[in-house]
Amino acid sequence: MTRAPEGSRLVRRTLRTPITTRVLLLSAAAAVLIGTVMVVLIVAVTGQRDAARSAFRSQEALAAGNQLEKSLLSIENGVRGYVASRRERFLDPANEALASYPGEVRRLTTLVDDDPGQQARAQEIGGEIDDYVKLWARPLIGVARRQPAQARSIVITNQGRLRLDRIQRDFNGLFARERAVINAREKRAEQGSSRAIGVGAGGLALVILVTLGVTLYLRRAVVRPVVTVAAATGRLAAGELSARVPARRHDELGDLARGFNTMADSLQRSRDELEHSNAELKRSNAELDQFASVTSHDLQAPLTTISMYAELIERRHASDLNGGMALVDGIRNATQEARTLIRDLLEYSRAGRGELALEDVPAGDMVTRALEALAGPIEAAGARVTVADLPILRVDRAGVCRVFQNLIGNAVKFRVPGRPPEVAIGAAREGAMWRLWIRDNGIGMQPADAERIFEPFKRLHGEEAYPGTGIGLAICERIVSQHGGRIWATSTPGAGSTFLFTLPAAED
């Protein structure tokens, strides 16, 4: 006992999963992969956007801090200028800055509120600036108005500058920290963007790979088997019934392959049976023809002998026989009848056998030959025959002559008593063939009979009414068929029949 290795068991399990499920699973996996890539990208892009935003915010904070520093310098310089000169215009920029600085402090504090340490620094700076303004700059202006000399001596101490220097140091701390924050954010943003680019490129490559993989897989798993089956179908259609496809799979394509093979099996079986019965039929037909041919040939010699003896009896012993002569006539008539029958039979068995001597023959010539052969019966019946323009055919002259002769003879023979026969012969082009017809105004027949009359020895009427062996139409059918044509009849009982047949046209 050998056990199947794990791998092949897996393969078998895979093959048992329907293709629909597999395609669904693959699509879901691809969707999940693409979704993951998208999410990572979105996260990276969002992170970068946030970093850029906060970096921008930090820049704004730096700008706000610089503005605030500028305002402070305006105040200090304005106050010093005023104290030194006592000119109010020196105070204009200072007053402007005094009005604007609280808003600037608030703006700075708001801009750094995402970092608690920075916010504390900004608030501390705000407090120092408040102290500088309220406990230094404004009082100094007040002193300068009332005691200018004192104000000047106070300004010399540079205490304002010292306060500003302290504030500036704090500002520098704030700025340095904010720049560090900006750098960190920019670095983070840069890393984020390179990560995003990496993820995007990697994801794209992965998606392409997965798509390629899925395509290759579908090609291997679906397209190739289908193409195989299609090719086999083509071979089958071309007649190669042995065409089969491998049917190892257990999915829908396996079902398709098995279905195809079953169909091919069944087709092959049917064709084998057909071929077999066809061959059987051919063999028995051939045997029958052979038998008929041999039999008719062999029967002719004894008949000739009987007929010859009957003649000898008549010639030499007519006086001895008295009334016995009538019996001898009976022998002679029966023998004649048998010989006709045998001749027809022989002709029938020969018709359709052997090579056709094909040549271009005007149909009119063959009709004329037939009418000459039938001149007696035509005259006797008082028939009128109308022949339209007839084409040139590519046929065996003797055979087709026989066809015209049989059909025109029938048209004259099966006439309504007391009505002179009228026979019309015509032709019309039908592709590579000509359709020819012979119409009469004779007795006609039932439509059901119109199909049976081409069978050998089929007679619709008693021999007393219309003489004949009943083999003529069967011979016509064989000759027309051998030319690749067909023969049929339409009829209205009591009003007449039309016999139609097709024969190949002469080559242009």
Binding site: D131, K134, L135, W136, R138, P139, L140, G142, V143, Q147, A149, Q150, A151, R152, S153, I154, I156, T157, Q159
Partner: protein, 303 residues
């Protein structure tokens, strides 16, 4: 009771939402009671000590205090007080009268000076709290060696120094009566020159010889070391300088008489000896004003 409080809170919140857009002052937000008392100090060591003493005593009694140190000279800090940027600061009564109130005539006694100053402040919406026992007067000090060389006893002897005397002093010294103005008027020291420097630096300047004399305060800790000689002031350029806290009457109203009692209790205990000891601890031994003040208040049972 609880429900009433809740209702009140709701009403307050509603009022805050729908009411004025003026932002609440950060010092009053989130608590009841008055805003912290803003105490300022001038720009030298003794003032830092005084600020710490008043602040810590008040805080020990549950008052909230905001101490703004090192603001500047009397002119500036008084202006800040007048502007409403401060509620209180300890001031030397003589300086207040001569430099802020512009009173040239020297009052007959510290009590008279206090009365005069009180009248001045009341007119501005302020008042003086209790006066300290100590007086931190201005004075001129020289090194013993310099004094020996030029036989110096009093300020008038400085006229004997050839080329004029260089005095290390705060900038305002040049323009004040208790400065070059008074020295020129009373002692005729026309050649004297003031070299402006931050208060506290003049001893080092004196030691290094950058200046010949230094404007000092009589409670300076350095004076207790014996390395300096204070020159006599027989013609009375420098007056007595007892300290009294000047406080805005509005602030006093909102903090109540208990605050005044605490401040007065501190002032009462500040004798000259106590001040010199504390100044020495800070200025000579480098201790922190806050620690020294804390020690003193604990010793005095004020904390």
């Amino acid at each position: 009771m609880r429900r009433l409080g809740l209702l009140l809170a709701v009403v307050l919140v509603a009022a805050g939402c729908g009411g004025s857009s003026r932002p609440a002052s950060p010092t009053t937000a989130g608590d009841d009671g008055p805003a912290p008392l803003r105490i300022g100090t001038k720009n030298f060591a003794e003032q830092f000590l005084l600020g710490e003493l008043y602040k810590q005593a008040l805080e020990a009694k549950g008052f909230r205090v905001e101490l703004k140190e090192n603001i500047g000279s009397s002119e500036i800090i008084h202006q800040a007080l007048a502007d409403g940027a401060l509620d209180m600061y300890p001031e030397y009564i003589g300086v207040l009268l001569s430099e802020v109130a512009n009173v040239r005539a020297r009052p007959a006694s510290p009590a008279a000076a206090y009365k005069r100053a009180q009248a001045f402040e009341r007119g501005n919406g302020f008042m003086l709290l209790g006066m300290t026992p100590f007086s931190d007067a201005n004075a001129l000090a020289v090194t013993p060696g310099f004094a020996r060389r030029y036989h110096l006893r009093g300020i008038g002897d400085l006229a004997q120094v050839p080329g004029g005397v260089r005095i290390g002093a705060p900038p305002e010294f040049r323009t004040r009566f208790e400065g070059l103005v008074g020295l020129t008027q009373r002692y005729g020291l026309r050649d004297a020159r003031a070299q402006p420097m931050a208060i506290g630096r003049q001893y080092a300047a004196l030691d290094s010889g950058k200046v010949d004399a230094a404007a000092v305060f009589t409670t300076d800790g350095q004076l207790a070391s014996g390395r300096y000689v204070v020159l006599d002031d027989p013609r009375g350029v420098f007056g007595t300088q007892h300290v009294a806290p000047i406080i805005s009457r509005a602030a006093l109203r909102s903090h109540g008489p208990r605050a005044q009692a605490v401040i007065d209790a501190v002032s009462r205990r500040l004798t000259a000896a106590a001040m010199q000891r504390m100044n020495a601890a800070v200025q000579l031994r480098g201790r922190a004003s806050a620690d020294v003040a804390d020690e003193f208040l604990r010793g005095a049972g004020l904390k």
